[in-house]
Subunit: 386 residues, 2 copies
């Protein structure tokens, strides 16, 4: 037989399986109450608009809508994004999902052993990408007057710092303006860039918007956006704002990744924005999600045993639970699944695998009755360990 | 100012700009006679079917058609491909374009300095990907009884051999069954795998089909297919057939690349296959392209100066021209563009940049009258150097 192991790249030893996607592969999530994924509520998908816009785009652009297109993305979509966010077209690269945005930024900046700074916890899919490039992932303690918890020698070796400033995945927390400024100051001092991942930024249900890091320091920021949470994730479309020097490398890199993003999908997204439908749809989504967040907060208050704490996010899709120290959410998982409820163990979001007494709960996907059922089941499972 | 160069990965020094895509960026190709791209004829795009199938898919699958989906690809599409090609569903991974297929195969198998074997010339986009991983690209002389032109020591260090057996890009040539068997024997002897890139396989206009390498040695072959030439390239959808051990690595790698391929596009492609429309459409495309190939062959015979030779492909999208030794198609390029005709210099397809007296011509894109105009212009430009 062929010795496949001999053939694999060293990188493949660092490939990290997503525990979330592995659950999806094994369990029929429609049969249980799942707080595991980061799925938007299907009710927010503008299916009638998509049907209509597909026909409109094919009429208007004809063959151009399904032919090969520019690596940077379709001009109409870059223009629509430019108008919405006030960023010049030349600073916009369309990506085939914002996961690709993370991958391509990591790829152009990282060699094996290079330092990538992150918050801790942080997005699992980013850790997957960083590990696959054999980067040294250094978690920071925060961005305060008294430093960030990493030695100057380490900061000096950093290529970039990855943050999700708004309604972070998994914590649901938001960086203050002061923290964003501290991070910018740190990046100026040590010469690294900032990868600002902003998938949830437009999903704010309360409180005041904080300026993006991109707006504070565009010359040293790669800002990642996505249509997955404000339109539909199945389109796999995102964007990068960045300085032209960095976008130029990304442009060349993306050529060998997939030549160009999906074309018909880009035209549909452009029309969805330009026609004002994105704003109309987003308004309805925000109302729906605000209600869901509030419901989950009240259900947690009602059902969770004493000693369990959770975050109170102003937006996004996630809450983060901290159980009493001695509990282990990884060990608890099979009992939860058997009871009919799924979550993601919080330790997966910590680069060092610590904090085994935490878990991430998604509040966007389930409807009210399933959410109540799920929180009751989860509270019972937790209580059975206390 | 920020020192971007300090931050770039070593890989980025090896990123190779596509001369074709760089032309597209600068020149309005609709204004000249372009034989440069690998664009299908827009007349082959089933726009009415796409409009209809988009509506049908949204009706039938609802929110599922635009929600996140499985990393391996949508089951309905994998099943349709399985039925068409007689390959088990478990051996099929959907890719976001077959360019991504090349990238992901290279990524799971290659560390810097590893050997990748290729034919010479070969597909430019593959060379881009191989170089970006800092592989050592070793061109082979052929696959005959008397060897392949590489030393056993080099073959022993090879991770895989990349070939386009059917109507190769850029040559238009097809590997015989004997050559395919020699390659399999070589791969067995030296323990590497074969990446069989088959984007043009279904575009045969004359002669008899030769068995795929996948069918000869499925345990050591990664076979890449695409919808770009038989449906529409804007969908950016392809597939990999492979042994489960290799697909499993690709599955984990693809998670961190883009989570999953575009969902709505996959359902549309699945319906396009299952309804029999792909076969109907392909039949028409084959007739159209057969006529175009024959036309270009006769135009070349009519207009090209003496001393110019070309390949006679049985399928695909390309012809390859060899001019008299002393001519240089890279140097000739600006004069050609100024005259109103574009091609791709053949040397870009040679890993060592040799064969500067060659060029690739696409015969699928232009209509008859533009093709005749373009060949006349090109013949005049070449004649002006003789």
């Amino acid at each position: 037989m062929i010795d496949y192991d001999r053939l694999f790249s060293k990188d493949t030893g660092n490939f990290m399986r997503s525990p979330v996607r592995d659950i999806f592969r094994k369990v029929d999530l429609s049969a249980i109450c799942s707080f595991a994924g980061g799925y938007p509520d299907a009710a927010t998908f503008p299916l009638d608009d998509i049907r209509e816009l597909c026909a409109l785009v094919l009429d208007r652009y004809g063959a151009k809508a399904v032919q090969y297109g520019a690596t940077q993305g379709v001009t109409e979509l870059r223009q629509a994004i430019s108008e919405r966010y006030g960023v010049p077209v030349g600073n916009i690269q369309i990506t085939t999902s914002s996961q690709q945005g993370i991958d391509v930024c990591t790829r152009i900046l990282t060699d094996p052993g290079d330092v990538i700074l992150t918050t801790s916890p942080t997005y699992l899919g980013a850790l997957q990408s960083f590990k696959s490039y054999r980067a040294e992932i250094v978690p920071l303690q925060g961005f305060g007057e008294d430093g960030c918890g990493a030695a100057p020698e380490v900061l000096g070796r950093a290529k970039f710092c990855y943050v999700i400033p708004d309604f972070q995945n998994p914590g649901g927390t938001t960086m203050s303006l002061a923290e964003r400024r501290q991070l910018v100051a740190l990046s100026e001092k040590f010469g690294f860039v900032i990868v600002e991942d902003a998938p949830y930024r437009e999903l704010r249900y309360s409180g005041e918007a904080v300026p993006t890091i991109w707006s504070l320091a565009p010359e040293r920021t790669l800002h990642l956006g996505t249509f997955s949470k404000i339109f539909a994730p199945g389109f796999r479309l995102g964007w990068i704002f960045g300085p032209e020097e960095l976008l130029d490398k990304i442009y060349v890199c993306k050529q060998s990744l997939d030549l160009c993003p999906p074309i018909l999908d880009q035209y549909i997204a452009a029309e969805f924005m330009r026609s004002g439908r994105l704003d109309q749809n987003l308004k309805k989504s925000l109302e729906l999600y605000r209600g869901k967040r509030d419901l989950m907060l009240s259900l947690l208050g009602e059902y969770m045993p004493e000693g369990v704490r959770w975050t109170h996010p102003e937006g996004g899709l996630f809450l983060f639970l901290t159980l009493p120290e001695r509990l282990d959410t990884v060990a608890m998982y099979d009992r939860a699944l058997a009871a009919g409820v799924a979550y993601v163990a919080g330790s997966f979001f910590y680069p060092d695998g610590s904090h085994r007494n935490t878990m991430r709960l998604n509040f966007s996907f389930l409807d009210s009755s399933r959410m109540e059922e799920g929180i009751k089941l989860l509270a019972d499972v937790i209580a059975s360990y206390l």
